[in-house]
Symmetry: C2
Subunit: 339 residues, 2 copies
């Protein structure tokens, strides 16, 4: 079975996905009987499209972004076209835009209107317009997966949907942001102030120059929002998530927990309070018995409490572009596999 | 979509499955559009069968085993019939028989010949005749799942198959036996000898009167065998697994590791050694950085190293009959769900 892919955005994750598809096309065909072909990539200058499929071996020799696409166009003597959504599945890789979800939102809706399924890696559109996208998917019978948008290589949604199928999930807790976890770990282990630890994270390329989405808990809030809407049947927006970040934690706060042999972690949580599902993000003091106590550095983790299977905790998942691309590849395979 | 189930064996796990099916029939119908109906149960006296489905509410009022089935037969004025495999899916729940896999093996093969899918909870038949069962499944186009046979409520096979779809798994390590982990934890935390810790485990009902399958590593060996055959493409038998148990560990051995702040865990491992997949079970000394270091008591855990997503570690999963039944229910749902 052949599946034609259109990719929107060509940053580092999209490039890693192309590399994975190039390296693994044979093994994916063998294992799942699926031939994944990239027919088009939409960048800021328009769409590169080849009916026979883009030459990924040639494409991944270039860098990323518009320049890479222009070089490819030149090398293969093709032109940028008006974007059109024609194929089996859109892989949405544009930079996350929390403000209005664009251009991802328009791309996803248009693709679904054109009968395509969608695998999202960026989370802006989903956070901004979750219900609009779900409604569109239902009306167009499009399939939608977005592992890449909810902690990427750390399995989260699929644990709840697949590994816990049939179970009643009573609580979700996650360390869903690697940057803030790295900062908290540095403060704890190296006795640093928040701003010292942040600087180190920035120097290492772990935190961005403007780190506020990570340290103020907004990124974690977006992820727990998507998890709750998808797994707990809520219909919340980001305004329903009570969010506190780690930016006000002091060296003293951390020293105090150290003396108690506990650790502060930025937890994103979804739990029932008198039948209402509550979503919050806040620094929480965890003792050593908590399964997420041991998740340090840039690592992430997620815990599900269930009525039937007890507590299931998953940790790890590489925080690099290849990991995020592998999460999208997993979604593509799971959309179309036979068994 | 209605799916007719035949259950073989009616022990505590089968009863828990019937309770789950009773409690959850409506929510499973709502969420997945699947109506799961138990039409027959095969016990030592023969098969109870009702075309309209057994009355689970009545059945689960009884205890377990032959007596429960006889009571049900009497209450509903039905007779035990010759076993026959007619329906959509067999849930195999007979006691695990490692020696020759029977009667589970015959049941599974016959069910597949009759066009049924199979969800296995007991592992004897799979360990004894994995390839025979897989070949039969292929020739009859039957689907086969066996989460219940490989650590039950702890997701193992499905992590490898689904959450890591498309990834190259380079190593699997698991604490796959709760009894031996409980004994090791007691020895460590309470400074006990092996035999003292074993006695406590037996008194608590964690270890069986004859604990050798657990403490000698055989149970762990069976599980890693099934995981490797299913996920790494090997075609091994239990003789290919190098197995050492925990029965020779002394108090001194444990004290020594304690001084190094490490812990001994009975690890079941599958890894590549010069292109050959090696399977072994043995007590291993883990330092605190190892994700399975923190898995204590009767808890279990499994770790996958992958080329694309780094290391993914999952721990927990309740070690009780309801957890094992929930694993089978999960398999049933995942066999027939639309998306």
């Amino acid at each position: 079975m052949q599946k034609e892919i259109i990719i929107t955005g060509y940053g580092v994750v999209a490039k890693e996905l192309c590399k994975l598809l190039l390296d693994k096309s044979e093994s994916i065909m063998d294992a799942f009987g699926i031939e994944l072909k990239v027919n088009g990539i939409i960048g800021s200058k328009g769409m590169l499209y080849q009916r026979e499929g883009l030459n990924l071996a040639s494409l991944v020799m270039e860098e990323v972004g518009s320049k890479a696409l222009s070089n490819y166009a030149q090398n293969h003597q093709i032109s940028f076209l008006e974007p059109r959504f024609q194929g089996d599945v859109l892989v949405e890789c544009t930079p996350t835009n929390i403000k209005d979800g664009e251009p991802a939102l328009a791309y996803m809706l248009e693709a679904m209107d054109g009968g395509m399924d969608v695998v999202a890696i960026s989370k802006g559109a989903l956070v901004h317009s979750y219900q609009t996208i779900k409604d569109k998917a239902e009306s167009t019978r499009s399939k939608l997966k977005f592992s890449g948008a909810t902690a990427a290589a750390l399995p989260t949604i699929d644990i709840g949907e697949y590994n816990l199928a049939g179970c009643t999930i009573t609580r979700i807790e996650g360390i869903l942001n690697g940057t803030s976890n790295f900062i908290l770990t540095s403060m704890y282990e190296d006795n640093l102030s928040f701003s010292e630890a942040l600087k180190i994270a920035q120097r290492k390329g772990i935190a961005e120059a403007n780190p506020s989405l990570d340290i103020k808990g907004f990124d974690s809030g977006c992820k727990i929002l998507l998890l709750a809407n998808e797994l707990l049947g809520t219909n919340y927006t980001i305004d329903d998530v009570s969010i506190n970040g780690i930016e006000h934690l002091t060296r003293d706060d951390i020293v105090k927990t150290k003396m108690k042999q506990s650790r502060v972690k930025l937890l994103a949580r979804a739990y029932k309070d008198e039948e209402k599902v509550v979503l919050d993000v806040q620094p929480c003091e965890l003792d050593q018995a908590h399964p997420l106590y041991h998740v340090n550095g840039t690592n992430k983790g997620i815990l599900f409490e269930t009525e039937e299977m007890g507590t299931i905790c998953t940790t790890g998942g590489a925080s690099h572009p290849r990991g995020a691309a592998a999460a999208a590849l997993k979604d593509l395979i799971n959309l179309y596999r036979k068994s």
